[in-house]
Assembly symmetry: none
Homo-oligomer: 243 residues x 2
């Protein structure tokens, strides 16, 4: 089950750099189906530069005369929109949208699509009509104008995240060689001796001080190697003090 069933559709894009940056953002997240509806920019040098190597995606992009044609094979289509007020469409956040896309695509990998409108004016109502629902990226009211390719990057990221979860991310245990209780207790008593030798524990009170240090140690959860370093430091300090 892969996120490849998700197409990204750009409608009426005017900046070629945005087409290139979209290709790059898609490739980053494992998406490969780019569809262009009535593009108003060429796939030029600027697009290639911003694609930064995702040329295959640019070269395989399909071009269409209408949104309906571009998504004709899809079983579920989401349009992106800034509007929230009394929308007749179901409006989702990016994460919820990714979940809905995944569910609609199903284990069979049915085609689904996310549609991004013009840089200046977004999608028309006629185009929104083609959509099953809307995705709205939560932006600051003071500065809502999000770059087209940045919007694609956010949605593609959520798609990848949602598709990836559930499979088990068996990451190795980072604290693999945790120190045993006896190792650490030995360290604490050694440390206490050294602190005594350098007249440190007197001021605070030994017990209270050691409790604070233990707390710090527990937060760090040193593994055996790290504990060996700490013990080595103590040993060296002691031998220097003896001289």
């Amino acid at each position: 089950m892969s996120a490849e069933s998700v197409s990204i559709v750009l409608v009426g894009t005017t900046h070629s750099g945005n087409i290139g940056a979209t290709a790059r953002a898609m490739a980053n997240m494992g998406l490969s189906r780019l569809r262009l509806v009535c593009p108003r920019a060429e796939i030029d040098d600027e697009a290639r530069a911003r694609a930064s190597g995702a040329d295959a995606l640019l070269d395989s992009a399909s071009v269409h005369d209408s949104l309906a044609e571009a998504v004709s094979d899809a079983v579920f289509v989401l349009g992106t929109s800034a509007r929230r007020r009394e929308s007749p469409w179901r409006v989702m956040g990016p994460n919820e949208a990714a979940g809905a896309l995944r569910e609609a695509s199903g284990p069979e990998g049915r085609s689904v699509a996310v549609v991004f409108g013009r840089e200046s004016s977004g999608l028309s109502n006629r185009e929104l009509d083609v959509c099953d629902g809307l995705v709205s990226i939560p932006v600051a009211e003071s500065f809502p104008s999000i770059n087209l390719a940045a919007a694609v990057a956010l949605i593609a990221y959520e798609v990848r995240t949602v598709w990836a979860t559930g499979e088990e991310t068996a990451r190795p245990n980072e604290n693999q060689f945790a120190a045993t209780v006896s190792e650490r207790e030995y360290f604490f008593s050694h440390l206490e001796q050294v602190l005594e030798q350098v007249d440190f524990s007197r001021a605070t009170g030994r017990e209270k001080l050691m409790r604070k240090i233990r707390h710090l140690y527990m937060k760090a959860q040193p593994n055996s190697e790290e504990l060996a370093i700490l013990r080595g430091i103590l040993t060296n300090i002691e031998s220097k003090l003896r001289k």
Copy 2:
């Protein structure tokens, strides 16, 4: 409680367009603190064009000579990195990272930061040393190279999402007086001196050793009081060694 406590830090950026697009992506998500470390591009026409109106953010961006200086006021710093394999740093996904930033910032809105490296080569190990953990954006293995501003957009989006949800996780912040980057960097350099004095750092190699110790420190996340204890210990050891 607002996400404004989150700074975006760009290190060694070479394309002015990326600085502009970063400003726009930040403004979209309600972030306003942009910090530039040794930028290799000017804020030129291309930057202004890509900022698409987010000029205030470009104009108020601060410029720094080093990452440590840029984030000196921060209590928690995440670096972005593609690397995943056996990293000594704690590696988070964007959503988890946003949660960690929010928690570290706390209801007081303490300064926290996310750092983005050079377009070509990312962050150096020395720069990663300053970070408490890493954020890794999950990308397709076949095409991992993500645009800088797109990466900022994804992180800013997750920050906004996490900050917007949950209203308040008003559990008392256990790390109430988190140490700032400048406090801990001072501690590391002091510790390094003391380890030198007790002949400890020679065997392992100073840089490798200090990196392991930094990792342990980042796991512990000492607060100001705990850091004061650690500093006091160093001072006492030093004064004893002098005798």
